[in-house]
Symmetry: C2
Subunit: 352 residues, 2 copies
Amino acid sequence: MRRTCCRVRRAQALIGVVVGEFELIRRYFVRPEGGRSAAAPTPPPETAVRLGIGDDCALLAPRAGFELAISTDMLVAGRHFLVDTGADALGWKSLAVNLSDLAAMGAQPLAFTLALALPEANPDWLEGFSRGLFECADRHGCTLIGGDTTRGPLNICITVLGEVPVQGGIRRDGARPGDDIWVSGNLGDAALGLRALRAAADDLTPQQRAHAVAALERPQPRVALGIALRGIATAMLDLSDGLLGDLGHMLAASGQLGAVIDVDALPLSFALRDRNRVLCLEAALAGGDDYELCFTANAAARSAVQFAAAQAGTAVSRIGFIDAGVAIRLVDGRGMPLALDHLSFRGYDHFA
Amino acid sequence: MRRTCCRVRRAQALIGVVVGEFELIRRYFVRPEGGRSAAAPTPPPETAVRLGIGDDCALLAPRAGFELAISTDMLVAGRHFLVDTGADALGWKSLAVNLSDLAAMGAQPLAFTLALALPEANPDWLEGFSRGLFECADRHGCTLIGGDTTRGPLNICITVLGEVPVQGGIRRDGARPGDDIWVSGNLGDAALGLRALRAAADDLTPQQRAHAVAALERPQPRVALGIALRGIATAMLDLSDGLLGDLGHMLAASGQLGAVIDVDALPLSFALRDRNRVLCLEAALAGGDDYELCFTANAAARSAVQFAAAQAGTAVSRIGFIDAGVAIRLVDGRGMPLALDHLSFRGYDHFA
């Protein structure tokens, strides 16, 4: 749909030179070879984007024995990103947060659509956005197959499509009492990066600051780890709203279970681990924007988890276990319950 | 992605009652039986939405021998619809314009995702929007499988997924010189409806006005016709930007062809046909928002086209033919070239 209510303008020609919207798409978003650069990894050979950008629909055929995993995220300026975020970082992150949803299902990325509302067609911004977007797409072999551009308050909506073996998608409702709880990478760096950009963490070294801001602006979707955990993880999701909130969703979906989390086992980077304990816990437990995977696995599968992580080149940490309770209990490394009075956090909700 | 930059709020509980965003989704967009009402047509039996709303991704499995058709449209308040458009009409239209893209490919709708940015969570608006949306979804057997809600300037982004037989999608690049050009339904009513809402067409009878406004606010995606035209239409697209602009896209995609259009054969409703000739032609040729199908077919297939149209219960009109020229030429019913000096129109472009 490309019509507006502000229509009927002076004609230049019946079939004129098509500029503006269509030229914008051609210049910044249509690429040779169906949207993938020569440097990108080759997609699974039997899979094909049968038709990409330019028609009413794209056509996609998953391989026999696979089904499609689909996810949509919408990013709004001033809510999901600071308004002065660089265009290339925003391009990267817009796709990365969607790929993180595919990773959380154990899906192999195939393709994505991009809908973009822009206040103006600024060539510098578009060039940067497009560069960051395709850098992330190429890293994960994901092809832009269609979309929509319109004028409006900045809004980026991406739908990603991936494939998983039939019955092989890793859902969030499979956690069972006794399962270990694992997370990938480090937690809390993105929250620290946001504090740094707001000049609320000015005691960081330049290296710590750069690390934290990169975690916020260039999250790494754990696609390879998600795939490696097929058949091993019993439940999985990605951490976008903060560990406690997201783990709460997993526990609710799995039948109102509880969990015990050892806060001394939470993986903290060199940038975060020297901060004061309250800041560390708030960032790691409720910081959000981590885009790490949180998953459960049977205790007998510990070496299988470690092998999958090594295969994927992504560190994982065992941070607790599922129990039959109805709450998340925080304990320290000696198993002692944590006093929580000094902590303030919960999962994020746009309308609460 | 559900995080924002405005974070860290006072905790109420570690796993509190989840309200707001998640309650909004549950109340207005999660339905029993995987998103389809009992009254909805049964989807193709072998096809399955394997997993709907609630996980990181939805899972979808097209039938063997079919591939997926995918399209995304973004609607912005004040651009794609008047800001005072009723919520239920907006819900209907948001999905209908996407289904029209599936129809234009000859695809059977299966499922859709919805991303919604809202200035506020207004229950009346949400109830109306949801009602209109699902009315359209049920009419076409299309299941809501996932999405995203966030706070922000009103923006509606829908991605639809449908299925077509492998190699059976009707693309826009298959028109050949000598092919007939056809359109479904009537043209120009939506443009007349927009004029009526702006009080610029106050000579309409109440019936004419109601017809024109309904054409604007409740377009009927020609899904059954699109499917019936598989193997018959050589090229097809839906009319969103106006016949001349959209036909221009088809001609360009098919190899810089030309076309001759008999303006006296353009199908006009009882609401439009009594207006003055300039208004009629502007509305029918460049009015936009019609969401009728425009397709080409071999002249030997005229009875097959009519049979398909009768099967689908949708009228079609033969309005011209493709030639080897490089422009669209308008002629009257006697074949005489039309003087165009008094006409002002072209296809719409958001950034031109």
